[in-house]
Structures are given as structure tokens and as C-alpha cells.
């Protein structure tokens, strides 16, 4: 008896320990659509990685099936105009989409976050210049800028990523700048400054971690935007060049044969829509989880 009583007493009376992240995780788990989306996206990533090493057929080998032939047991999603296996091309297209989606967001983070931090923290002339540049970029339609950039740089996967980053970096910069402007007035930043922390330490050690929630949400929404962008460019024929498949260029090829082989356009369209939807649901879920106040 005494032993259990002592055990009860010695057990620290810990308050309900819940960090922001575990709290967010708990809320995210309750969001069914976000969870389903996360599972789908994990699957997509696994499939894309497996497709690096093995696809049912080669994505570029022509004549593995009858041109325009519909879905069958051997070719799940049928064949395209040159008799290439649509399913294999879809898998390689998933790689392209994910590389573009994630790649652009990594670059957007690398470009947008430091600029936003510096503009928001130092304010003054630096901020004015950055805000001006952001407004100029917002004034020009992104698709047109990307098309001109690709025209000048030449179409390749790297240049597509560069073109998308050039038209999308300011979303992140604007967000980080706003967060920094609000955070720099808070007491803990003042305390850090008073205790002699260097600006670099304040920016990346104190402000950035506190702005991480909105940044993650923004990056999550940025991925589908970039994927859509790449699909648009490839659809117009100035994105990923053949024979490399992209969901956009596959849909464009399929549209030309829509009366005789509708599967050619349906397969990439559904793959694209599902992926974009999953990222959007996940972003919605993350936003609700990381910032419960924004929930209506």
C-alpha cells in the first residue's frame, strides 16, 4: 500500500504536455480528408520512386501496344498515338510533377524566406524596395512571364523550375515579411535583442521557428500551384519536351485524339486532378491544424 502511495506521490504531476506540433498532429489526425490525402500522396511518392527503377514498359518505347488501343489487362490505361504504354508514362509523369512541385517549393523557400525575414526585420529602405519588387511581380500575369522565360532560356526541366520560382517566390516573401513584421514587436524578440543576440540568430533562431506554421501551409499550397503550372506549360508544348512524358503534355496529346481514344486524355487528367486535390485538402488540414483560430 505504502509503496503504491509513494509511487503516486513521486510521479511528477506534469501538466498536459502538448507542444504546438503534437497539438497540430492531433488536430490533423481528426481531419479525414487531409489524412486520406496524405496517404494518397505518400503512395504517389513511393510509386514515383519505384518508377525510377522499374515501370511495366519503357515510357519511350513505341509500339508495345496497338496505337490508340484502349485499356486492357496488359496495358491498364491503354496506349497512345505511338503505341506507348499510357500507364508507364503516367508513372514517369508523376516523377516530373513531384520534382517540379517539390523542387520549386524548396527553391521558393530558399529565396523567399531570407528576403522576407530581412525586409520585415530591417524595414525602412530595404523593405520599400522588396515591397515594390513584389508588387511589380504581382502585376504581371505569371503564366506569361513563365512562357517568356522559357522562350528565352529554352525548355528543360531545370528552366521550368526556374521559371515557376521566378513567378511564385513573392507569395512566400510576402507571407514571411508579414509574419516578421508582427513577430519583431513581441517581447521575446526584444528580450533576445537585449541579451545581445546577433541579428542572424534572432532572424533564424527566434523569428523563423515562430513563423514556421504559416510557412509550411504556404509551401503545401505552393506545390499544387507549381504542378498545375508545369502542366499548363507542357500542355501548351513549351514545357517538358518529348519523349519525356508530363501529365500536361499527355493530356494535350490525348485531346487531339479525343474522339477515338478518350482514355489518353482521361488518365492524365484524373491523375493530375487527384494529386492537386490531395495537396489542397492536405493544405487545408494543415492550416486548420497549425492555426486553429483561422477555422470557421
Amino acid at each position: 500500500m505504502a509503496a503504491t502511495a509513494a509511487a503516486v506521490i513521486t510521479r511528477p504531476i506534469a501538466p498536459e504536455q502538448a507542444s504546438l506540433w503534437s497539438d497540430a498532429w492531433r488536430r490533423l489526425r481528426r481531419n479525414r480528408m487531409a489524412l486520406i490525402s496524405a496517404v494518397y500522396l505518400t503512395l504517389l511518392v513511393v510509386v514515383a520512386i519505384v518508377a525510377i527503377f522499374k515501370t511495366p514498359y519503357s515510357y519511350r518505347e513505341v509500339g508495345v501496344a496497338l496505337p490508340y488501343s484502349g485499356p486492357s489487362a496488359a496495358h491498364w490505361f491503354g496506349a497512345d498515338i505511338l503505341g506507348r504504354d499510357v500507364f508507364s508514362r503516367l508513372l514517369v509523369g508523376a516523377q516530373i510533377s513531384l520534382i517540379v512541385g517539390v523542387g520549386t517549393q524548396v527553391l521558393v523557400l530558399l529565396v523567399g524566406v531570407p528576403i522576407g525575414l530581412i525586409a520585415g526585420y530591417y524595414r525602412g529602405a530595404v523593405d520599400s524596395i522588396v515591397t515594390f519588387i513584389i508588387n511589380v511581380f504581382y502585376g504581371i500575369p505569371d503564366l506569361l512571364v513563365a512562357m517568356i522565360l522559357l522562350l528565352l532560356l529554352g525548355p528543360s526541366l531545370n528552366n521550368i523550375i526556374i521559371a515557376i520560382v521566378a513567378t511564385r517566390w513573392m507569395d512566400m516573401t510576402r507571407l514571411v515579411r508579414g509574419q516578421t513584421l508582427a513577430l519583431r514587436e513581441r517581447e521575446f524578440i526584444e528580450a533576445a535583442r537585449a541579451s545581445g543576440a546577433k541579428p542572424l540568430k534572432i532572424l533564424f533562431g527566434h523569428i523563423l521557428p515562430n513563423a514556421l506554421g504559416p510557412i509550411i501551409v504556404q509551401a503545401t499550397f505552393g506545390v499544387p500551384a507549381a504542378i498545375l503550372f508545369e502542366a499548363f506549360l507542357s500542355f501548351l508544348g513549351i514545357g517538358v519536351q518529348p519523349p519525356t512524358p508530363s501529365w500536361g503534355s499527355m493530356a494535350s496529346d490525348g485531346l487531339a485524339a479525343i474522339r477515338i481514344a478518350p482514355h489518353m486524355v482521361i488518365a492524365p487528367s484524373i491523375a493530375l486532378s487527384l494529386t492537386l486535390m490531395a495537396f489542397n485538402f492536405l493544405g487545408d488540414g494543415l492550416r486548420d491544424a497549425l492555426d486553429p483560430r483561422s477555422r470557421r
Partner: protein, 319 residues
């Protein structure tokens, strides 16, 4: 509403738009002329013929010389030069005509976007947390996840392929565009494809801001006064709920302009977007410059229009 201040503001903005147009076309002009090779690269022309063509387009002159004559022709005569591929075709009348086509399609899409989006948003807000609300909310996520070209594709499949096959050709829907400006029967499908993703966004925003507004005291007052529910919804609630919604009009208009590039190409609409994609693929650089100039002007004017619309809807805003 049209005070002296507003007119002055419009004047300033127009000057600014003029500068932007010149800046954008300069960047494109200089960028394109730095590309290796020349515009006649694909044609196997040699000797005097080639020299003559180069001279005809002024491509044998130094870049700076070409640039200044391009600028002065554009600013003082509104002349954007001659197509490199279709010799003799003047670009200015071509792109101006295409601009009006694009604006026509865009306006239809905009009306459709705002009308449908607001309707769905209001219905969802009034029936909050019922199945109507859930269905509409889910549809709107699906809506803005579907790129306009996917929606366009499915519309074509539905109307031009499946219905056609199903009715043995009795129901025949022509995809494409007869004449320059199309007919009402031809225009609604592209407008739907172009506007649907944005209608979803408008619906979400309208729903959220309606929910906020209908809990306000003045709505309760209006109800206590014995006003009809429809009057309260439309005149009291919706009008104020619109204010957050119109803040996205700017991005929305830009989205419709850029989305038009895709939709015009799918439906074969002879607008600016189709010309843009074609001229890039044809390497008709003079038209690329012309189209880009037109787009810069269009975007500037559209933004100005949106800003002026704010004044109409929200009387608190003054310029």
C-alpha cells in the same frame, strides 16, 4: 463618385500603365533579340534573298537602332511591325482584334464566375452544416483543384463525344469557333471551363464572409423590424459580405486572363492566348512582342477597372 480626385487617380494610373507597357515590351524586345540565330533561321535562304529579308525587317541594323525605331513606331504610331512568318501581315490590327475576342470570352467567364460563385456561397452559408453545405464545400475544393484544361477536356468529352455517340449524332455539339466572335451557343462552354475553378474560390469566400455577416446585430435588427428574409439576405447581408469577396477580384481577373491562354487553345478561339502560344511555337518573334504588349495593357487596364469597382461597391473607399 467621379470626383476630381478619382479622375486624377485614373489619369495617374493610365500614365503608369503606359510606362509599364513600354517597359514590358522593351524587356521582351531586347530579350528576344539576344537569342542566338535569327528569325529566318529555319528558312534555307541564301545570298541576296536573305539579305533583302533581313533588310526588310531591319534586322541588319544594330540592336540599339532597331530598338529605338521599334519604340518610336509603337508609341507614336501604335505600330507593332510586321509578322515574320506571314509576310505582310500587320501586327497591330491583328492583336487588337484578338484582344477583343479574349476580352469577350473573359467577360463571359467573369460574369459566370461571380454569379455562380456568389449563389453557391450564399446558399451554403444559409444552410450551414447541412448536407447542402457539405456538398457545396467539397465541390468547391474539387473545383479549384481541377485545372481549367481538365474541365474543358471533360466538357468536350461530355458534349462533343459521349452525348454525340449516345444519341447517334442527333445531339451534335460543334467544338470550335465559327467567325471571329463566336455565337452564344459556342461561348458558354469555354466560359464555363475558364470560370469554374474561380467560381469555387468565390463560393468559399462568399460563404465565409456571409457566415460572419449574418451574425451581426444589424441583421437581427432588420429581422426584428419584420423585413422579408430575401430582402435581408440580398440587401443587408450580401452587400456587406461582398466586401471581402471583391478583394480577390484582382487576382481573379488576372487568373481568367492567363487561364484564357489554355482555354482559347483548347476550343480554338482566335484570341490573344491562341496567338501567343502559336507565335511562340512558330518563333514569330514580332508577334510575341506584340501579344505581350497587348497583355501588359490588358492586365493594367483590368486592374484599374477592378480598383474602380471597389469604389462603387464600398463607398468608404476613396481615391
Amino acid at each position: 463618385m467621379l470626383t476630381r480626385g478619382t479622375l486624377l487617380y485614373i489619369g495617374q494610373r493610365l500614365v503608369l500603365i503606359g510606362f509599364t507597357v513600354v517597359a514590358v515590351s522593351s524587356i521582351v524586345f531586347l530579350g528576344i533579340h539576344r537569342l542566338p540565330g535569327d528569325a529566318l533561321f529555319n528558312e534555307h535562304l541564301h545570298g541576296t534573298q536573305y539579305e533583302l529579308l533581313l533588310h526588310h525587317y531591319g534586322l541588319d541594323r544594330p540592336l540599339w537602332d532597331q530598338y529605338t525605331s521599334f519604340l518610336s513606331a509603337m508609341i507614336f504610331h501604335g505600330n507593332l511591325g510586321e509578322s515574320l512568318v506571314n509576310r505582310g501581315v500587320q501586327i497591330t490590327p491583328l492583336v487588337v482584334r484578338e484582344l477583343t475576342v479574349s476580352v469577350e470570352v473573359g467577360l463571359f467567364a467573369l460574369i459566370f464566375t461571380i454569379g455562380l460563385g456568389m449563389l453557391l456561397g450564399v446558399v451554403a452559408a444559409l444552410r450551414q452544416n447541412t448536407w447542402v453545405d457539405y456538398v457545396l464545400s467539397t465541390t468547391s475544393v474539387i473545383g479549384y483543384s481541377m485545372p481549367s484544361f481538365v474541365i474543358a477536356t471533360f466538357l468536350i468529352l461530355l458534349f462533343a463525344v459521349w452525348l454525340d455517340n449516345l444519341t447517334q449524332g442527333t445531339f451534335y455539339f460543334q467544338i470550335g469557333w465559327t467567325g471571329t466572335y463566336g455565337t452564344i451557343g459556342e461561348i458558354w462552354l469555354p466560359a464555363f471551363a475558364l470560370g469554374f475553378p474561380y467560381a469555387s474560390i468565390v463560393a468559399r469566400l462568399t460563404r465565409a464572409s456571409m457566415l460572419e455577416v449574418i451574425r451581426q446585430d444589424y441583421i437581427r435588427t432588420a429581422r426584428a423590424k419584420g423585413l422579408k428574409e430575401t430582402v435581408i439576405t440580398i440587401r443587408h447581408a450580401l452587400r456587406n459580405a461582398l466586401i471581402p469577396v471583391i478583394t480577390i477580384l484582382g487576382p481573379l481577373v488576372i487568373g481568367i486572363i492567363t487561364g484564357g491562354v489554355i482555354v482559347e487553345n483548347i476550343f480554338g478561339i482566335p484570341g490573344l492566348g491562341k496567338e501567343f502560344a502559336n507565335s511562340i511555337l512558330n518563333r514569330d518573334y514580332n508577334i510575341v512582342i506584340g501579344v505581350f504588349t497587348m497583355y501588359a495593357a490588358l492586365v493594367g487596364l483590368a486592374n484599374l477597372g477592378v480598383d474602380l469597382l471597389y469604389v462603387v461597391i464600398d463607398p468608404r473607399i476613396r481615391y
